[in-house]
């Protein structure tokens, strides 16, 4: 492989040969090309435009009476929208943060001035089951919020984890109130 180049490397032995330069340039260029090909091949598996187009929804909450909750679907995942009663709000606020595994106040988990509207994902932070407690007559667990039947995680009235294997509070999705009766999630 080196024999052809002997004439060009007269003098010192460590000189950069023309062939070395061409070699490195060609392989680098092919490498850049390969990366340029691989990127779209990877990117095609990301959520497509039609999936991303469903990334935000608007929900009418005018029919939800205090104490009631509804389930809706956002990004193919269940979302709980709950109209807390004053009692439930008081219960949530009475808990000292030091007792919580994932310390967050009800204020931090709700919109200012809309403290009664608790909006969370219905996805248990343990292994992804849908907790009970949003439907009428469902088991709300020992803390009056949500109860996951899979592995027994119990959430309080602010949907914070209180007992069981789940590490985090039920996630609060990004949301904003379009009006008093319409909330946009996502």
């Amino acid at each position: 492989m080196t024999t052809l180049e002997q004439t060009e490397t007269t003098g010192e032995g460590h000189e950069v040969r023309r062939r070395d330069f061409i070699n490195i340039a060609a392989v680098s260029f092919a490498g850049v090309g390969a990366v340029a090909v691989v990127l779209p091949l990877i990117n095609q598996m990301n959520p497509s435009a039609d999936v991303r187009a469903l990334a935000s929804i608007e929900v009418d909450i005018s029919k939800i009476a205090p104490g009631q909750a509804i389930k809706t679907l956002w990004r193919k995942q269940p979302v709980f929208i709950r109209n807390l009663t004053p009692k439930e709000i008081a219960e949530a606020e009475a808990v000292p943060l030091s007792e919580l595994r994932d310390p967050e106040t009800l204020e931090q988990r709700t919109t200012a001035g809309k403290k009664n509207w608790l909006i969370t994902l219905g996805v248990c932070t343990h292994l992804g089951c849908v907790p009970l407690g949003a439907g009428e007559g469902e088991n709300r667990g020992p803390f009056g919020g949500y109860f996951c039947p899979c592995h027994g995680s119990a959430y309080d009235t602010a949907a914070r984890i209180r007992k069981g294997p789940a590490p985090k509070n039920l996630q609060v999705p990004e949301h904003s109130f379009k009006s008093d009766t319409v909330v946009q999630i996502g």
């Binding site: 492989m1 060609a26 092919a30 779209p40 095609q44 497509s48």
Partner: protein
């Protein structure tokens, strides 16, 4: 499997030595496409197309797997899933255009590969098996390409499926039951679409398997070369790596540039607009033709416009079309000339180029609607195609006086005074 002077695989790193004892895969690669495979030193760029066909298959498999991630093989949603891929999937348009035009690029390089073999007599002993396996690959490619073209479930897809499966109905008595069995119905529908998808996914891997056999069979006698003179000694060969990896690498670069031009600047140039209309069993497109790589065979299919002997025109057409390919299986025994390369065959060289022209004319006739002059021209070209193999080749190989062959590959490269400057391997 190789010449006695081939470089021997001798791993230096302990890890590679360990691996070599357990699973000698690097050794296999080294002996197949590395420095351990001595190749004639005089290969020209026509010898690039085997590697390019392999590269095209890899591109088809990768982009095809991506397409299958977004495709739904159901007659109700197949068309929409393709449009979804084109419009919504990230870079989905690039994946589909790469796959569709990749098929065309695959056929371009394979046709060049085949005609290279015809020109330089690569099909002759001791490489008959290489040629036979190549024809098998070609047949598998045609089946795969056809079934892939059906999957978008557009108008051309549907009517292509209707026409191609209609070939089988030409077989007397059992033809119609065979067609219904193939389609899983009386006309192309969901059952046919699903099985075509399944087979379209399977066959490329079968092709890859036959390619392994093709290369295996090739490496027993070693590669042919433009003189057709066999390798006589170490001075006639160079190691595959780095000499032909570099040459093939350059060819691959050119191939990819052409592919990119086609894919990015004229992605629909080789397709049919009608295939962007969803399949409609109640309306045939006015002008229905297959993809360009089938045109010559399509022209042969249509050449029989009349019943002949007791056999109806429809059956003749199908027999002729399959016969045109089946004939290639017998080529190593039809051409009896002991000289391989057309360089030294003054008569064969001419007939080779006439055959190339004839295939182009057949292609043109296959593309044009079956009216007027194109019918007669197609018939004449089809007759000539068969005459080339069945009449001209036997006669030429019997009466031709070949030009004097060089004593060796090295002599043909360096002139009359060989041997002094053999490549140190």
């Amino acid at each position: 499997m190789s010449f006695p002077w081939a470089n021997h695989y001798a791993p230096k790193h302990p890890l590679m030595r360990w691996l070599d004892e357990k699973l000698p895969l690097p050794r296999l690669v080294y002996n197949a496409v590395g420095a351990g495979y001595p190749v004639p030193r005089n290969l020209n760029y026509m010898w690039n197309f085997g590697v390019l066909a392999g590269a095209a298959l890899v591109i088809q498999i990768i982009t095809g797997i991506v397409m299958a991630m977004h495709y739904a093989a159901n007659a109700g949603v197949a068309f929409d899933s393709i449009e979804h891929t084109m419009r919504d999937v990230n870079a989905g348009w690039a994946m589909r255009y790469a796959h569709a035009n990749g098929a065309s690029m695959f056929f371009i390089v394979v046709y060049l590969h085949i005609f290279r073999g015809l020109y330089y007599g690569s099909y002759k002993a001791p490489r008959e098996m290489v040629w036979l396996l190549g024809v098998v690959i070609f047949l598998l490619m045609m089946a795969t390409a056809f079934m892939g073209y059906v999957l978008p479930w557009g108008q051309m897809s549907f009517w292509g499926a209707q026409v191609i499966t209609g070939f089988f109905s030409a077989i007397p008595v059992i033809g119609e039951p065979i067609r219904e069995w193939l389609l899983g119905g009386f006309a192309p529908d969901n059952a046919a679409l699903n099985r075509f998808f399944s087979l379209h996914y399977l066959l490329p891997f079968v092709i890859a398997g036959v390619i392994v056999l093709h290369i295996w069979a090739l490496h027993i006698p070693g590669s042919s070369n433009p003189t057709g003179v066999e390798v006589k000694g170490p001075q006639d060969t160079v190691p595959f790596h780095p000499y032909y990896t570099a040459k093939d690498g350059f060819g691959l670069g050119v191939f990819l540039i052409v592919f990119s031009l086609l894919m990015f600047f004229a992605p629909n140039a080789l397709g049919h607009p009608d295939n962007y209309i969803p399949a409609n069993p109640l309306s045939t497109p006015a002008h229905i033709v297959p993809e360009w790589y089938f045109w010559p065979f399509y022209a042969i299919l249509r050449a029989f416009t009349f019943n002949f002997l007791w056999i109806p025109a429809k059956l003749w057409g199908v027999l002729a079309m399959f016969g045109a390919i089946a004939l290639l299986f017998f080529l190593p025994w039809i051409d009896r000339s002991p000289v391989r390369s057309a360089r030294y065959r003054p008569m064969y060289k001419w007939f080779f180029w006439v055959l190339v022209l004839d295939v182009f004319i057949l292609g043109l006739c296959g593309m044009k609607p079956p009216e007027g002059i194109w019918v007669l021209l197609g018939q004449l070209a089809a007759i000539y195609y068969f005459a080339h193999f069945l009449v001209i080749l036997p006669i030429v190989s019997a009466i031709e006086r070949p030009l004097p062959l060089p004593m060796s590959i090295t002599e043909s490269v360096l002139g009359e005074e060989p041997a002094t400057s053999g490549q140190p391997a």
